[in-house]
Symmetry: C2
Subunit: 240 residues, 2 copies
């Protein structure tokens, strides 16, 4: 089965002969941005049923219809790795969500910390960034972007058996880091100002916490997120 170049994430189930209603945004993108009409082949995925080759059968101002021709690639789930991070400036937060999706995070959890600047996030906008990144990177899975929660509450409710890997700035020069724990796992990236002494104590007291070093320079939060996800994927994830 050939793989179409235009990739769209949809919510509906995908299957042989299945008709799919595309959103107004997708119709606009196809007709006005890409200048495509009926007969155009697209790839559809929904995080569950793999990638399907589909053909546009109708297109208008309010939406479009497509019909599934056949499965082009099987569903590929990322390893069970979460990214827990403190949102920073808008562009860098968008960037973290985009990169976490490309790097195969299974779930993205924004948290408020004592030194976090952001009191709230636009969860829908961040989720849209994750969808766009998945469409772009050829994956068949879009990680959920969870609602913003205080770090303390996330730590209180931490699921038993899930390792929490903390990129600890104080380890900058601390010799060879230990091997990273396997899935289920989560990477925690603090805000630009680091964690408060109280938060550091709570982290140390949480069971399943591992710390990791990210080298001798102080990385920005967005760099740290990409670096930590990369190291985990290379050691314990799907690379390969």
């Amino acid at each position: 089965m050939i793989r179409a170049k235009i990739r769209l994430f949809v919510e509906q189930p995908l299957g042989q002969g299945q008709g799919i209603a595309l959103s107004q945004a997708h119709a606009h993108y196809l007709a006005n941005v890409l200048r495509k009409g009926t007969g155009t082949q697209v790839a559809l995925f929904n995080s569950r049923d793999g990638e399907w080759l589909a053909e546009i059968t109708e297109i208008g101002r309010r939406g479009a219809l497509a019909i599934c021709l056949g499965q082009a690639a099987p569903q590929r789930m990322p390893p069970d790795l979460w990214l827990v991070f403190a949102p920073i400036k808008k562009a860098r937060t968008d960037f973290i969500v985009e990169k976490a999706t490309e790097l195969g995070a299974a779930r993205i959890l924004p948290v408020q910390t004592e030194f976090t600047n952001s009191e709230r996030i636009r969860q829908d906008r961040l989720q849209a960034h994750a969808i766009e990144a998945a469409e772009q990177c050829g994956g068949t899975y879009v990680p959920e972007v969870a609602a913003l929660k205080p770090l303390t509450r996330v730590l209180q409710d931490w699921p038993e058996g899930r390792a929490l890997i903390w990129a600890d700035e104080s380890l900058a020069d601390a010799g060879k880091p230990p091997a990273l724990p396997p899935a289920p796992a989560a990477i925690l990236i603090g805000p630009e100002g680091g964690f408060s002494p109280t938060e550091r104590a709570k982290l140390r007291a949480t069971s399943g916490v591992h710390s990791m070093s990210l080298g001798p320079r102080i990385l920005r939060a967005d760099t740290a997120a990409v670096a930590a996800l990369t190291l985990w994927q290379a050691q314990q994830g799907d690379w390969p």
Copy 2:
């Protein structure tokens, strides 16, 4: 010796009792952005003499003067790793330079490829980004951002003995990648459209070329740069 929080890169030699003329831009930043005056302590570095604690002795519209009080940290050179990359959209190119500096690249070489969009770069602006990133990340070294050159010319003049590590998209699912070569080395990141068949053939024919896999998803060029630098630093660089 205490380390000051305000870090400034200067060109001049640093040494005990040395007077340093700061630029108009630094004077503006100190006086108008940070609202600091004479007596303020700053950290100065120049990529050669380590980090020096200095005190502002004069400040005006046209510049400022500082005097070196003592060395606060030794010079720390990054490993001999270059980043060779094809510039992409402006924000993502800026981002690559910032991240490469934070991640300890020793030199940054923008190259034109067949599928590169950019015909030119603002070398001075990219160099300024590298300086800002070094000031921010606590390093004492600013990598040089070289002038834009065609990839073919860079490959023709490739220095003997320097490994060229190519993040090859076609290796996405190709089993465990081999260990990365040690310094002197360079990482090569292609443009969004990948390398042309001719370029791929030239790369394969260049001596000292290694390829590396960056997992099963197709990474954007900026993500690939950060991921590749991270993997090399963790395997062969200064982490730790």
